[in-house]
Amino acid sequence: MSRFIQLVGRDIRLAFRQGSAVTLSLSFFVIIVVLFPLGVGPELAVLARIGPGVLWVAALLSCLLTLDRMFQADFEDGSLDLLIIGPLPTEILVLAKVIAHWLTSVLPLIVIAPILGLSLNLPGDGIFALTLALLIGTPTLSLIGAMGAALTVGMRRGGVLLSLLVLPLYIPILIFGVAAVDAAIAQLTVVPHLFLLGGVSLGALVVGPLAAAAGLRLSLS
């Protein structure tokens, strides 16, 4: 357990000391959201209608942006080999990496999402549901993404392939996430959608580390 926490701590420290990772995905997220009012036009009714979808799609894309670094840096300097040889099972190693990725590149997005939601004219209920849905749903993005990142680690132009592999698998999260926010805006119950999101997240918690560990062993063999 202490090894697991140490590994998560190491990855978080690395991400913060390099600095760019956190601010990069955060500014990417903000820029995508800002592009939409410029492209679609500033009518507040239109923005409120497309707001939930825009925020979710922007979250998916910014998560994708940092995914290919999940194992890449450790692969390049060789520490990934040592980590796999080490006493921690590869599945648990993947889980630690996923937690670190989620904390450093997804959690900042969730923190800033309510402010962007306000700028897109989302009502208060919608913003609350959006934050909850993002908190419950986004761990899946990191978990499924870990599988894609493990398969493409060490590959030339792996990032492009990664998006082709991972984005189709992200669709349920997008649909349930947007449905939750839309339900909140329409004053309907949000809880069933959140349960579905939670269910998908728990399923990904089982499948993701297994598949990613198999992918890592394969990429390093």
Binding site: M147, M155, G158, V207, S219
Partner: protein, 244 residues
């Protein structure tokens, strides 16, 4: 029912068996396809609302069936290849993917050609259309990962992992998209109460389905054979280089 899978893992034995099946599959494809096209284009009655456009269905529905069936087959052979390190299973999955992608594409294209006169639009973001489109992307991703490894055994494993994660995800995608929006008619052939359509339409449809299956078996055999021969050629070339 203990089938010794390893018996069929030998490419030579596999080639011998498929060589016996191949002519049958060709004849079946020709006969069933001609019969099915005749039945569906001339015998089946035009729909009282849709007129002759309903005949697109005889091309469209079996293609959609095949698209789903081939993905299932790909996932099963990937699992077999991953678990028993069965080389022919990996090659079968690889060879099946482009065929499945073509059937998915065919289903999408014929569906949109039918949608234009019937729904007044080539494309709607409806549950079934969207999930078929996602299936096409899953096929493309699967094919892309085969291309991006230099080592074929590594590529086989990576593709198998992807296919298996995809197969877990397909029902979830299906349900999520189903609840999201729907215009496409619900399933009417394989329902709990038996088929809901009249036999004059059902029989041509089933014949076309069988014809597509026979066609798939034929193309699959050709492709797997080509893959095996390609590997063999590669080995021979390397051996020749070593000698010289």
């Amino acid at each position: 029912m203990a089938i010794d899978l390893h018996k069929y893992a030998n490419p030579k034995r596999f080639l011998a068996i498929t060589a016996a099946i191949y002519p049958w599959s060709v004849w079946l494809t020709v006969i069933l396809l001609l019969g099915g096209l005749y039945l569906s284009l001339f015998v089946a009655p035009p729909d009282y609302q849709q007129g002759d456009t309903v005949r697109i269905m005889f091309v469209h529905v079996p293609a959609a069936w095949m698209a789903l069936m081939i993905y299932t087959l790909m996932a099963v052979s990937s699992a077999v290849g991953l678990i028993w390190k069965h080389p022919v299973a990996d090659l079968t999955a690889k060879a099946a993917a482009p065929i499945g992608a073509c059937f998915t594409f065919l289903a999408l294209v014929t569906g949109s050609l039918w949608g234009q006169p019937m729904w007044g639009t080539f494309w709607v973001w409806d549950a079934r259309l969207t999930s078929m489109l996602i299936l096409l992307f899953l096929y493309l991703g699967y094919m892309a990962i085969w291309e991006s490894f230099d080592d074929p055994t590594k590529a086989a494993k990576a593709a198998a992992i992807l296919a298996l994660v995809g197969v877990v995800n397909i029902p979830i995608i299906r349900f999520s998209v189903d609840w999201w929006n729907t215009l496409h008619q619900p399933a009417s052939v394989a329902t709990m109460d038996g088929p809901k359509i009249h036999s004059t339409i059902l029989i041509p449809l089933l014949v076309m389905g069988l014809a597509y299956t026979a066609f798939f078996v034929m193309v699959l055999i050709i492709r797997v054979k080509a893959e095996i021969l390609k590997r063999r050629l590669h080995v021979l070339q390397i051996a020749e280089l070593r000698e010289s």
